[in-house]
Point group: C2
Chain length 121, copies 2
């Protein structure tokens, strides 16, 4: 499993967050499926040439947000998603998407154009 995600050291976003977002996107886009095992902390650390503790921090937050689960001695696996269960996260995302949409409208993008973009997803 080569180059599954990448890190940009110039990116001001912390490394552990880039790792977290990288895996989250792979899960959301279906590249990683439910119950699939993801690279171990040490393996990922070696591949990205960063510290295993940094990877563990990323994996820890992924688990906290319900995207993966970790089993001592076995590894880290993609958690099955239970539709509409993670209400706290859904609420948070709705607030964020509303903010972004308001800013887009303020910048002159028509609401139908925004809706059209989402319709294409």
């Amino acid at each position: 499993m080569i180059n599954i995600i990448s890190i940009d050291l110039k990116n001001p976003k912390p490394i552990f967050e880039q790792v977290k977002d990288g895996f989250k996107n792979l899960i959301i886009c279906g590249v990683l499926s439910s119950e699939e095992k993801i690279p171990s902390v040490r393996e990922m650390a070696q591949e990205l040439a960063i510290n295993p503790n940094t990877i563990q921090k990323a994996y820890r937050e992924l688990e906290a947000e319900g995207y993966v689960y970790q089993v001592v001695g076995k590894g880290t696996f993609v958690a099955p998603v239970v539709p509409l269960e993670n209400q706290a996260r859904i609420d948070e995302l709705i607030l964020e998407i509303e903010d972004l949409a308001r800013e887009l409208i303020y910048l002159g993008v028509a609401k139908p154009d925004i809706i059209s973009i989402l319709d294409k997803l």
Copy 2:
């Protein structure tokens, strides 16, 4: 102009960023209109009990993003928006809103429900 924005010291988001986002939201929502003067760096610092340099950092970024403009000796004013001019920011927001929408869909929120939320704005 009392309590125009507020700061939450427990919020992990840096203070300068809370100030920036606070003003940005006031501008986007129309609470602050084009060419309106916003509180001076020293005035805002006093009201929020934080350092003027921190306020200046927030205002500096607002100016860099095109929301305000600063005039030495006069103050800081809401910049008039030119529809569809800030294409770089629009592109950035579109990528973000797509990411958020994908995550919402992954979490079980139906696309029509997301579109309905945006339609209400």
